[in-house]
């Protein structure tokens, strides 16, 4: 009878049934670029003709809408046998921020999980080839909901070469092992020291390097500009190529 405790858990599977790939950008350290790489990957995949959904899993601190420059007063999901997310620069985009409206939303873990289940069980992704999930930092309810209730996904581990980020990433690589597609080493300047350590923990996994690019900051909120940055070029050449290969096979 346990199943009846939360009918949303089964509904999540239903909503994701026709999505070909669920692609998760994860990293337990904050500020390593999960959101930027999620958004860039989504924009660039869409420009290659794939139908892309993007969902912000960071319930208490969503920021992907800021990166995409979404105007919360005019852009909204529509109601249609559930909720259909709006299209933003060619990407079908869903975020808790459509309901929390950029207000502070402190949530204990049990409510984080509940909010994720609610949104994932009502959001429809009609015709989507790949659903990109932008994860929050840390290892808490969002990660456990992903592992326990979304289940079918492939993960890209985003990190910087910094020792703190690498230490966090090694821990997450262990949790994600088996689902890990690639490591995205972001904000690389000259020397990516420390990163070798991580690679010992993810043997055989490709590592994609995205440079630190000062143009990124000025392009936040402007998708058309973002995709033209040097960082975007590297994401396209490496990460998006990787995903495109997955989707074509």
């Amino acid at each position: 009878m346990k199943y009846f405790e939360d009918p949303r858990v089964g509904a999540i599977q239903l909503r994701l049934k026709d999505v070909r790939e669920v692609l998760v950008f994860a990293g337990s350290k904050g500020g390593v670029g999960k959101t930027l790489i999620s958004v860039l990957t989504s924009l660039l995949l869409s420009r290659r003709g794939f139908r892309v959904g993007l969902f912000d899993m960071d319930i208490t601190n969503p920021t992907s809408h800021v990166t995409l420059g979404v105007d919360l007063r005019s852009v909204k999901p529509t109601e249609e046998k559930g909720v259909v997310p709006p299209e933003v620069s060619g990407v079908t985009f869903m975020s808790p921020v459509f309901y929390t409206l950029d207000r502070p939303t402190p949530l204990r873990g049990e409510y984080v999980s509940s909010a994720l289940r609610e949104l994932l069980s009502i959001t429809r992704w009609p015709g989507i080839d790949v659903l990109v999930l932008d994860m929050p930092p840390g290892m808490s309810d969002e990660l456990l909901e992903l592992l326990t209730h979304i289940r079918r996904f492939r993960a890209m581990l985003v990190t910087t070469p910094s020792p703190m980020a690498v230490a966090s990433s090694i821990r997450l690589a262990e949790v994600l092992s088996g689902r890990l597609e690639a490591v995205v080493l972001n904000m690389v300047t000259e020397s990516a020291f420390g990163a070798e350590k991580l690679l010992n923990y993810a043997p055989g996994i490709p590592v994609y390097e995205v440079p630190y690019d000062s143009d990124v900051e000025y392009s936040i909120g402007y998708p058309e500009k973002l995709v033209l940055t040097r960082a975007a070029r590297e994401v396209d050449r490496q990460v998006v190529d990787h995903v495109a290969r997955l989707l074509r096979t």
């Binding site: 009918p7 109601e79 939303t105 509940s114 609610e118």
Partner: protein, 131 residues
């Protein structure tokens, strides 16, 4: 209407159990409608009956149980009801889609804390099933 998706969640859960039991017939179903989510009974009832049909589930009798929403503060222990709050239409609509959005708009009326729990009356749930 997004109620369709909520009805579908209930139906899929019932279906899974039905498959395990080897029968697509249910004697009695009780669905809880938490006041916080402000589900329109008629719309939901319509959606549920349609979706049940679509999935080939027979529910001979069902009841929709309204649950009053109640909050309790983790800081001062105060408890209060939804109807004591004044919420704008925009906020009510946000909470209708995502009940946890309440944490963006509601604070404890006594001490101002945001660390409260929704004790009951959150949203749609399966209260009970009889076969």
């Amino acid at each position: 209407m997004h109620e369709w998706a909520l009805a579908e969640a209930i139906t899929v859960a019932l279906l899974k159990q039905s498959e395990l039991r080897g029968s697509k017939s249910i004697k009695r179903l009780v669905v809880g409608l938490g006041e916080l989510q402000a589900i329109d009974r008629e719309i939901f009832e319509f959606a549920l009956s349609e979706v049940l049909k679509l999935y080939g589930l027979e529910v001979r009798e069902y009841a929709l149980l309204s649950e009053e929403a109640e909050f309790e503060c983790g800081a001062c222990g105060h408890s209060w009801k939804l109807r004591e709050l004044e919420l704008s239409d925009e906020v009510r609509e946000a909470i209708h889609f995502l009940p946890e959005a309440a944490y963006s708009y509601v604070k404890c009326p006594r001490c101002g804390s945001r660390d409260f729990s929704v004790v009951r009356g959150r949203g749609v749930s399966i209260v009970g099933v009889e076969y």
